[in-house]
């Protein structure tokens, strides 16, 4: 059940009315219906792992309480929690990857290990809910939060349906307190949620799904196309990935607002970043902030005696984990490693934490800002080729095809040509709106405008969705992670 489907629309309408009209007496009832809704949503997507999701919730709920009681087995409880989380991820997501990699390494040394791979089905959303449970027990252990004694609240935190399958990865300290209070309907919060949903739908069905038509054609047949067309394919993919994932996040945040909850912002107009550090402060914010808190900071403390070298190592490890988080493929590992490497010049220049922002309210960036944006985008776009390719070899072939003599020719128009022209037109509108609203919460946050103009803009966006939207039930890219 994807957000932009008719099934989800019906599900949400029923849920909305039950939540606000029949279960609105107290936070207890609200949480109960929310949990039920989340489980229906998850079971609809894949019922086979609902029991796994519930088991994970039960284990971590009791571990949290146990860790907080500070008994002599506190450490053991923490390790069990970490083992369950990381072990679960390692088994479901990475077991076959590591087995195959071991086999290949030993095979190249003429040793035939022949370790057997397993036919494993990965539970939907495992990367997202596992990170939630890990952060919870770590925070309880560090005393940053109190373990909740209310199982419905905790289960809701683990399986909150708007962010269950593709994030954002909320931290308990921000989310659980909201569940412990009764939610009261707030008109402004709800309308802002609707605006964000509308913008998310636009990103998904107009930008991402239309770009995907050309991305699939170009990447699947890259040997047939000129360098400039491959470049266009890579640009399309960068926008597809961004619009797809940030569109999902916008919808998740919007639906949460409709039920009176605020979840973490996941994107902050990353393609207008001034350097790679700036990019990672704006891209998949909930994952990067999670890893910064639980991995990068502990690593950089551990390596602090080695100065810049220690920092570089911490960054590289952090980014390799970010890459690997996306899936069991060396393309993701290399993607993360390269992004880690892009930080090295910033570390050496001492500019890692220097926030370079385009001056507020400026309509046109300076030449320097524009060049910075272009260079950052180019670096990101090139590494996204790894993201889209099946293997590193495919990615390298694609990139070498791109940097051939034909890079300077006019790109070929891919069939259906008219759709390509429409997509370029929509991309132009998309970039313009995002640029104009880059200092806002999301692309369609236009509360400063008069009601009449706001409605004109809503209608225009709806019209673009109705006219150029593709409704082929394309899954969200990040739901596979």
């Amino acid at each position: 059940m994807i957000f932009n489907s008719f099934a989800f629309l019906l599900f949400f309408i029923v849920f909305f009315f039950l939540y606000w009209f029949f279960f609105n007496k107290s936070e207890k009832y609200q949480n109960l219906i929310l949990l039920l809704g989340s489980y229906v949503f998850y079971a609809w997507a894949d019922w086979r792992f609902l029991s796994f999701l519930i088991s994970v919730s039960v284990i971590n709920f009791y571990l949290g309480i146990y860790i907080e009681q500070n008994t002599k087995y506190k450490r053991l409880a923490l390790y069990i929690g970490l083992l369950q989380g990381i072990g679960g991820l390692a088994f479901f997501k990475y077991y076959n990857f590591f087995i195959t990699s071991f086999n290949n390494v030993f095979h190249s040394l003429n040793i035939n290990l022949n370790l057997q791979t397993l036919n494993i089905i990965i539970p939907l959303g495992i990367s997202f809910f596992t990170f939630r449970t890990i952060s919870y027990i770590l925070d309880v252990d560090k005393g940053k939060i109190n373990a909740t004694k209310n199982w419905v609240v905790f289960f809701n935190y683990v399986s909150f349906f708007p962010s269950l399958l593709s994030g954002p990865i909320d931290k308990a300290k921000l989310f659980i307190p909201q569940l412990e209070k009764k939610r009261v309907f707030d008109y402004h919060q709800a309308t802002n949620g609707m605006r964000q949903i509308l913008w998310g739908i636009f990103k998904k069905v107009v930008i991402a799904d239309n770009c995907s038509i050309f991305v699939n054609e170009i990447f699947d047949n890259y040997t047939h196309y000129s360098g400039s067309t491959l470049l266009l394919g890579a640009i399309f993919f960068a926008f597809q990935l961004y619009a797809d994932f940030s569109g999902y996040s916008d919808m998740a945040i919007g639906f949460s607002r409709l039920i009176g909850l605020n979840i973490t912002k996941n994107f902050d107009f990353p393609f207008f970043s001034q350097n790679i550090a700036d990019f990672w402060r704006k891209w998949h914010i909930s994952l990067t902030s999670w890893l910064t808190e639980y991995l990068f900071i502990p690593l950089s403390i551990a390596f602090r005696d080695y100065n810049n070298l220690g920092l570089i190592c911490a960054i590289l490890i952090n980014f390799i984990i970010i890459g690997l988080w996306h899936g069991p493929n060396w393309t993701y590992v290399l993607f993360g490693f390269l992004h880690g490497c892009f930080f090295i010049p910033l570390i050496l220049k001492g500019a890692l934490n220097k926030k370079q922002k385009i001056v507020k309210g400026k309509l046109i960036p300076s030449i320097r800002e524009f060049i910075n944006m272009l260079m950052t985008f180019t670096l990101v776009m090139l590494t996204f080729i790894l993201f889209r390719s099946e293997t590193i070899v495919d990615a390298l072939k694609y990139i070498s095809g791109m940097f051939s003599n034909s890079l300077l020719t006019i790109p070929q128009l891919i069939s259906p040509k008219l759709n390509m022209i429409y997509t370029l037109f929509c991309l132009f509108i998309f970039i313009t709106i995002e640029w104009l609203n880059r200092e806002k919460e999301h692309g369609l946050e236009i509360t400063h405008l008069k009601t009449k103009f706001r409605w004109i803009i809503y209608s225009a966006v709806a019209l673009l969705i109705i006219t150029f939207g593709s409704f082929s039930k394309n899954e969200f890219i990040y739901s596979q992670f």
Binding site: W20, F185, Y187, A190, T191, M194, V205, L413, S415, P416, K417, L418, I421, Y458, A462, L463, I465, I466, T467, F468, G469, S470, F471, S472
Partner: protein, 317 residues
């Protein structure tokens, strides 16, 4: 809350009304199938895949066989993915058939791809998901099968009208595009520049070479071809036709089902119907991509088929 719901309802209502209006504007510019789900039940039909959809022009048959008004023949062919022979297509034909007549003409086209053993349940076919074949406007079809925003119905209408008027000037920008006529014939507008066509043929041959690796002949589909013929024989005369295709495609088809023509011959003898095999004519025609006849050749082939049918009819008299 009330204000919020009021505004949402108003916005939703507006969106629904806009969609209802857009649905009314759907026509032959909408997509390659829509009109075939809106026309009335038909006495005479052309059955098959995209080769027939593009390659047989009903208006030419009508004029040669003097078919008028409700007797006119209708092209009810789709594509190899949507209308291979099977239960789904059989049921769709039954729905489209005007069973009040017994003197219809049915051109049943065959090729190895229409009897391939793949996805035999045809659940991905547009014919599977659609329950209504004759309603206009057909919201049932549009909701289930039209994968784009409905605003594009109007956009296509405008853009294709412009393209039709400026076909030569805009062909570079527009690329290939289609127009579905009221009689079910799918007209394809595409460049016939020899380099472009050769490239299309090469791509198509590569695709079919991939397909042939997994190709298996389907006894189930062949059985349904036979059932379809028997169904249609109750309401008129059936002619089996194999349309020409580019020699490189024929070579592939010969390799995957070497005795295809023999099987069809046997089927025609068993059902006492004529088999018009035009594969021998393949070199005399132009193709847009190797598998589909260009409209000029489609016209020639249609005239040839119609004249043959006429001669059979006269022979019977």
């Amino acid at each position: 809350m009330k204000l919020f719901i009021k505004k949402i309802l108003a916005f939703t209502l507006l969106i629904i009304i806009i969609h209802l209006i857009l649905g009314l504007t759907a026509d032959g510019t909408t997509d390659d199938f829509y009109l075939r789900f809106t026309s009335a039940k038909q006495k005479s039909l052309i059955i098959g895949t995209s080769r027939a959809a593009q390659g047989i022009q009903p208006q030419l048959i009508d004029s040669i066989l003097d078919l008028t008004a409700t007797d006119k023949i209708y092209n009810f062919s789709f594509t190899a993915q949507n209308s291979p022979y099977g239960e789904v297509y059989y049921n769709a034909i039954q729905e489209k058939l005007n069973t009040s007549s017994t003197n219809g003409i049915f051109i049943v086209t065959v090729d190895p791809w229409s009897v391939k053993k793949e996805n035999e349940l045809d659940i991905d076919s547009d014919l599977y998901s659609t329950t209504s074949y004759t309603s206009y406007p057909n919201y049932n079809y549009l909701i289930k099968n039209y994968k784009n925003g409905w605003g594009s119905i109007l956009l296509n209408k405008i853009v294709k009208a412009i393209l039709l008027r400026n076909e030569n000037k805009l062909s570079n920008i527009s690329g290939s595009w289609t127009y579905l006529h009221d009689n079910g014939w799918l007209e394809v507008f595409t460049s016939m520049d020899s380099i472009y066509v050769q490239k299309n043929i090469k791509t198509k041959v590569e695709q079919y070479e991939q397909l042939m690796k997994h190709y298996q002949f389907s006894a189930y589909r062949f059985e349904y071809l036979s059932r379809t013929i028997q169904l249609l024989q109750n309401y008129g005369t059936v002619y089996l036709v194999r349309l020409p295709a580019h020699k490189s495609l024929i070579k592939i088809e010969d390799a995957i089902v070497a005795d295809f023509d023999l099987r069809i011959e046997e089927l025609s003898i068993k059902n006492n119907i004529k088999y018009i095999n035009l594969i021998g004519e393949s070199n005399n025609h132009r193709y847009t991509d190797g598998t589909h006849l260009h409209k000029s050749s489609a016209a020639a082939v249609t005239i040839y088929i119609a004249q043959l049918i006429k001669s059979y009819q006269q022979g019977n008299k």
